[in-house]
């Protein structure tokens, strides 16, 4: 009962904040609402017995990635006209996008409700997970079954660091020459 109540409250907060992300004029407000969306999603992860992912969601997503977003918004320091965006170039884009979004929601909802989900059940029931510990199981999987993707991820992050530095640094070198 308490679980259902928590799901309803958190689901409502998530949807309202997600709508605010889209419809707020100021990008900073959008970013703040996106952080709230991520935190309430973390609560939903706890409800689904994924405690480690919930902690990572708050630390990595709401902490690191969103700080990066807000940092860039502050760095660009957009003017009022730039934030408002002015007139649309495509006349009917916004209404048709919203209508198509509604159709997408209805389609996903219909497919989800009509489908009877099947699949081979694995051994990790919530009882076993709480007995061993969620984090321990994730760690075990990462270093046994998924050790190769784990190593690839480190290369990906390294490439991302170099890419970001190269993209932003280019202009500085040119300035030094002049």
């Amino acid at each position: 009962m308490l679980e259902s109540l928590l799901f309803l409250i958190m689901g409502l907060i998530t949807i309202v904040c997600a709508l605010c992300v889209v419809f707020q004029k100021n990008p900073i407000y959008s970013a703040i609402f996106l952080i709230q969306t991520m935190v309430s999603l973390a609560v939903l992860y706890v409800l689904l017995h994924a405690q480690f992912i919930a902690a990572i969601q708050v630390m990595v997503y709401a902490g690191a990635i969103m700080v990066l977003f807000i940092f860039v918004i502050m760095l660009l320091n957009l003017s009022k006209e730039d934030v408002e965006g002015g007139r649309d170039k495509l006349f009917f884009q916004k209404p048709s996008a919203i209508i198509l979004g509604f159709i997408l929601v209805v389609m996903i909802g219909t497919v989800t409700l009509k489908t009877v989900s099947q699949g081979i059940k694995d051994e990790y029931t919530p009882e076993i997970i709480s007995q061993i510990g969620n984090t321990q199981l994730v760690g075990k999987m990462l270093f046994t079954k998924y050790v190769f993707p784990f190593e690839i991820a480190s290369i990906l992050l390294f490439a991302a660091i170099i890419g970001a530095i190269v993209l932003v640094k280019k202009r500085i070198i040119e300035d030094e020459k002049v």
């Binding site: 939903l44 994924a50 990572i56 990595v60 965006g85 979004g101 929601v105 081979i120």
Partner: protein, 100 residues
């Protein structure tokens, strides 16, 4: 115990909001945030299926999606900063150099 279908529908709603946001906003940073919203919706679906099938694999996938999202955010924001330096705008309607 609430049915797991509700989580999937919530995930679908979040994904649709993100998709609509990409279509109706003109600010490149907000479009980027909407993409993050869509990634989060997919993460929720992954966790739900992982719970439904009593499996840990979905959670590992979410872990990797977060890694990719971090890399994507770093590179994407660097691209936005570079565009801003060159064109002094982040409005996607004004960035139309490759439009035929």
């Amino acid at each position: 115990m609430i049915p797991l279908t509700w989580y999937l529908i919530l995930s679908g709603i979040l994904f649709s909001i993100g998709a609509v946001g990409v279509l109706i906003r003109r600010n490149a940073i907000v479009i980027f945030m909407c993409i993050e919203l869509m990634l989060n919706a997919v993460n929720l679906a992954f966790i739900t299926f992982s719970r439904q099938l009593n499996s840990m694999d979905g959670q590992i996938f979410v872990f990797f999606i977060m890694t990719v999202a971090a890399a994507e955010a770093a590179v994407g924001l660097a691209i936005i900063v570079a565009i801003y330096r060159n064109k002094a705008t982040v409005n996607v309607d004004d960035i139309n150099l490759m439009k035929w």
